[in-house]
């Protein structure tokens, strides 16, 4: 994947992973952007450091996206466990002993 694609996808993943959806303060986003700026200019045609940085960026992208997809599949298919006692009681119309008369 090209560098810009990786960057866009990385920022997208980080935005999804952040608790409030805002990556302005995100350490990881800042670091990634700083790394990109650092390796942006090079006069060599084959720059090993830049390729390595892109590889790392793509690996981190794979990590974040795989985790997110794993969680989605897990949530969709994983069993929800037994019904609680209250739910069962509501299902059949019973009242629990702790309920007021």
């Amino acid at each position: 994947m090209s560098g810009t694609k990786v960057l866009r996808s990385l920022l997208h993943e980080l935005r999804q992973a952040a608790p409030n959806g805002c990556i302005k303060d995100s350490l990881a986003a800042r670091y990634v952007l700083a790394q990109y700026k650092k390796f942006a200019t090079t006069e060599q045609q084959f720059c090993k450091a830049r390729n390595e940085a892109t590889f790392l960026g793509q690996t981190y992208l794979t990590y974040l996206s795989s985790q997110r997809k794993y969680l989605e599949i897990y949530k969709e298919y994983h069993g929800r466990g037994e019904r609680s006692v209250r739910d069962t009681a509501d299902l059949v119309g019973f009242k629990l002993p702790s309920d007021p008369k």
Binding site: L14, A17, A18, P19, D25, S26, L27, A28, R30, Y31, K38, N51, E52, F55, L56, Q58, T59, Y60, T62, Y63, S66, Q67, K69, Y70, L71, I73, Y74, E76, Y77
Partner: protein
Amino acid sequence: MAVVHTKCQVEAREPAFGVLFFPSAASPPKRFYKKTSLLSGGGGCEVVLDHRKLKTPKGTSFVVRSEPLAIAVATEFDAQKEHIERSRMHLSALCFTAIDNPNHLSKLDMVNYLLNFMATDTVLFQYDDETDLQDLQVNEWDPVIAWFNQRFQTNLQKTMNITPPQVSEEDKMRVAKHFQSYSLETLHGFIFAVDTLKSIILACAVIEQMLTVEKAVTLARLEEEYQLKFWGRVEWAHDLSQQELQSRLAAAVLFVHLNCSENFVKQKSIL
């Protein structure tokens, strides 16, 4: 996340009491912190959860030398929603294992483990009864074996039946020498990668950046993918295992790289 940088300074503040993770048999612990941040000191980088320093399960302070690794761990902790799902935080788990070394493994133990794995490498066991599968294996796995043989000057041959491939002592010595050059922490990551892929050859290929993580996982599951084409793909099994392997392998690769690479930035002087 706020950033607190105090580079090359001794901490003036009292380190707040650390956070111990008590293994709980019931539900995972709730997220008790609002913000994660980073603290860079002389010894390395530490992760701070809401003014409490992160500690490993054994109770020692969590310090890593590489800043991007600490940032990644902090991001991981930040990405937890209501509960802290420790079993899904692979990077943090790798860092904790490397710092704690709970099984007291020495470098020799780990290198021996990796060497013994070579005889049971997935990529070397090929099957020639079904032509399609055989073609697939020859096209996909043989180049990786050739690359490994060329890179490490070994002579690993694939086997077509159930007898394990012959790994000569010289091959073992050469590969052992290569692994000995890594630090103890990095080897933890290596072992994690090998256990995920069930193959040393693929693990080395992905760590040397010859394959991407997705490609390596596809190669490790080559026969499974082949059978899927006939029998169908079950999302909750195949996709799940694929995503899990990918996330584990990606964590291992990142861990190995961030632990053993040092950043050299040569600025050209414009004078």
